[in-house]
Amino acid sequence: MKLLSHIGRYLQMLGGMFARPENMRVYGKEFFHQCNEIGIGSMWIVIIISLFLGAVTTVQTAYQLVSPLVAKYVIAQIIRDSSFLELSPTIVCIVLAGVVGSKIASELGNMRVSEQIDALEIMGINSKTFLIMPKILAAFIVIPSLVILSMFLTVWGGYMAGTMTGIITDAQFHQGLIKDFLTFNIVFGIIKAFTFAFIITSISAYFGYNVQGGSLEIGRASTTSVIVSCVLILFADYGLAALLLTK
């Protein structure tokens, strides 16, 4: 029953978000502000995670491929495909659910508790449109961009770790990268990034926007939003894989 009430209120919030902006220029400014907050604010963590994901995957794949019958370039293929299909979209978005999601939930929660949302409503501004819509739109631009950046950095991290430790040669790595390359894998990763971007921002906005109480509740909303976002990301991850990758 509580779950149904949450789903209903979540859908109501999304529905209430679609209203004509009072002033496009102010909304545009807010959109770019959110792009900066979500994108630049999370870029360094994405860069670090991606480089190490690639490096660790290379070392661990090489450790497991002990058969002399398996060519070395397979290591590069595994890094490429696992990065495009899973590591970059899913792991990066789970991290972003923590970084961006908790920030959105606590920001909106604080605005609710300190009556800033009421202040917007009394001014005649649709608070859902003004506060939530720019965040979701910004995430649609920024999160897929971060995921694309992560895809290339993961491969590069793998390349650096592989060649510097002598696990794989430069030529073998390049051979693996281009062998049986499917553009759809990148497209699939980007589809996942769009889906996860929507989950991260809308779920955290829902929990933040509907906070009731004080600072304790803001903390709870922030934690709940991260947990729910992560679980939904994993559900969506499986759903998209089953839908788009099974023949």
Binding site: E22, N23, R25, V26, N110, S114, E115, Q116, D118, A119, E121, I122, M123, G124, I125
Partner: protein
Amino acid sequence: MIKVNNISKSFGDKKVLQDVSCEFQSGKVNLIIGTSGSGKTVFMKCLIGLYAADAGEILYSGVNFGQMDDKDRKDIRQQIGMLFQGSALFDSMTVEQNIMFPLDMFTKQSITDKRKRVNEVLARVNLVDANKKYPSEISGGMKKRVALARAIVLNPKYLFCDEPNSGLDPQTSLVIDKLITEITKENNITTVVNTHDMNTVLESGDHIVYLHQGLKEWEGNNKDIIHSTNQRLNDFIFASQFMKDAKAKQMEEEMKKRV
């Protein structure tokens, strides 16, 4: 003018407001007073449309607020200024940006005109050289003044103040009360103030509505309140010995004058 006709509001089984009717005139400071839990905040939230009343009607200059469509409601809200208990300033914006926000949103003025208007209202609330400061860098009294400046920047017809003196020292409270009264008279605004502060009641109460357990118990002004025979109101207003003594002294002086 705001006219309230028989409004009621319940949360579950709990009746918070029961059949409250009153009228708030323009150019007057109208106070809603009552003990904690008497329904003051809910009443104010119903007036400004944050809560929908279960029954009754609220008329803004004769137009029923509850029956307005979204567009008309937005239009009327642009004529409303509100000073919140906790100021409700936007943390991420400077003082200037906070006050300029309604101008950015609803006017097409140039940045120079908007700055001029911001400086005008800041001067009106006696706050200068605070434009570039963030809310976290200013005191509680300054926050209230910035919030008041933001509330009046669009020249509202209606001004609502939710406990404007809470958390302020007595001297700053008087300054805020004086500002609210002056701004109300200067611009002929219909001002509604939700308060606990007895100084405000006695100094600024042009019209007072006393609520008790969701019912309107008494209505009058700051002169009538001294002579009220309503026991609950007297218990509330003259709760402290100091206020009891002040009332006794006032009555004594009035008796002397009559003699």
